[in-house]
Symmetry: C2
Subunit: 243 residues, 2 copies
DNA sequence: CCAAAAGTGTTAGGGTTACACCCATGT
DNA sequence: ACATGGGTGTAACCCTAACACTTTTGG
């Protein structure tokens, strides 16, 4: 356990990440259950080292949890209300985990607790990952790390639910202008998978032929060989995102 | 002079504002020349009180400098590289202003200097104001506060020039989607003024009739009486932005 | 040969762009 | 009456949405 202090980290500034994944027509978000009694769920979060940039820090936090670097990651919003603290949550943690805190096995020092319960400004980042490439890695703060359907999230701590909602809104607005959707798909895919993904994200349906035209007109996909699935129909082409 | 400390302000976190104004076919940005020898120019900046939200803080900073509340103000980007400090600038200030710092009249305490020269993460906000409503107000840090044409800015300190460039880019991208352009105009205006403003911001020209259609199709303007200018042509209508 | 699903072509409609015309104003 | 600039109408164009048809695959 490394301790928190302003020598090491920038105080009162945190990063929270909404990590999106996609599998079988479900848009998923990575959520950690923290390693204390009390059923507390949190987005992957972290602090910024004094010697690193904020984008670097976000990439590091993601690398720690998912094992992949060179991830698509972007800042989307800050969360900085006046009364934004962890105090209530830590009160709950301490109440429900007296045996830990009263034992010899000290986890947090008093200074750590003061640090963690101070008022925080949080930088909201969102990431798009190929869910198959991810190796979920728990930190010592995590009891579990799991993908949840974005509409079936557990109760998240603080304003993390709002963070997810705002991130989804931001994603929907920017998916078309910037071409980032393919970050959610594996290396190769068929057109129907792209359409399913779009329909999942926007919760709408699109006509098959026009969708294909629209995507191919982006001119960012290269067509590979056909994919024979064994189904009794014409084999669809595989595509790959150019670079 | 109030002193800087982490009791009062959030440390290592600043707000920098790109305040846009418009007058006579020129897009302008508010820049302060700070009150020391050395020709140092800066965007209006400030820190966040422990008891206030970040958006609140941005509004307060703007109110201090421009005198107007209920301004259009939005966060657009963070600036948080690893080595982002004021150190070089303060070195220059101290060198060029030895008489101040060696005099009895102590302006900054050692603690203040440490605070000001630490590594900072900056939250970039941009504002759109009706330049006629602004009463420029210097703080004790400002030698002057002036509007500069966005393409004729003085040498700005740190990464403030990049901030302006990024803010302009952001403005161009969002002017049409959100309807915010009228924040730059006075209460009432004629269509030609709107068109001039657009042409100034985007550095393009538009056809008069189609521009009028496009703007009126937004259905956000109400037509008022005609404006008789004394010119020997048909008097244009005045418009007002609906709420 | 047939069902299923992929690929592609064709037409209709809506919105934007370019051009034209008319109107008010003061000299 | 006329020059000037503002307001509006119309037709061409482009892009997208809706529909139709063809092709491939395995049973």
């Amino acid at each position: 356990m490394n301790h928190f202090n302003s020598q090491t980290y920038i105080p009162q500034l945190a990063i929270d990440c909404v990590i999106f994944g996609y599998k079988e027509k479900e848009l998923k978000v990575l959520v950690s259950k923290i390693h204390f009694k009390g059923d507390i769920y949190s987005l992957p979060s972290g602090f910024i080292f004094q010697h690193e940039g904020v984008d670097e820090a976000a990439h590091r936090i993601l690398k720690e949890r998912t094992g992949i670097a060179n991830i698509f990651l972007e800042h989307y919003q800050n969360f900085g209300q006046a009364n934004r603290t962890n105090k209530a949550i830590f009160q709950k943690i301490i109440e429900k985990n007296r045996e830990f805190f009263e034992s010899e096995k000290i986890i947090f020092t008093q200074a750590d607790l003061e640090w963690l319960t101070s008022r925080f400004v949080s930088l909201g980042y969102y990431a798009l990952v190929d869910i198959n490439k991810v190796t979920l890695t728990k930190t010592e703060m995590d009891e579990s790390m799991e993908w949840y359907n974005i509409h079936e999230l557990p109760n998240l701590m603080m304003d993390h639910e709002e963070m997810v909602k705002k991130a989804l809104k931001y994603l929907r607005l920017h998916l078309d202008t910037n071409i980032i959707v393919f970050n959610l798909l594996p290396e190769t895919f068929i057109m129907k998978e792209v359409q399913d993904l779009y329909e999942t994200i926007y919760e709408e349906t699109y006509s098959r032929n026009n969708f294909q035209k629209k995507i191919l007109d982006l001119k960012v996909l290269e067509r590979l060989e056909k994919k024979f699935t064994g189904a009794q129909n014409k084999a669809p082409y595989l595509y790959r995102f150019k670079r």
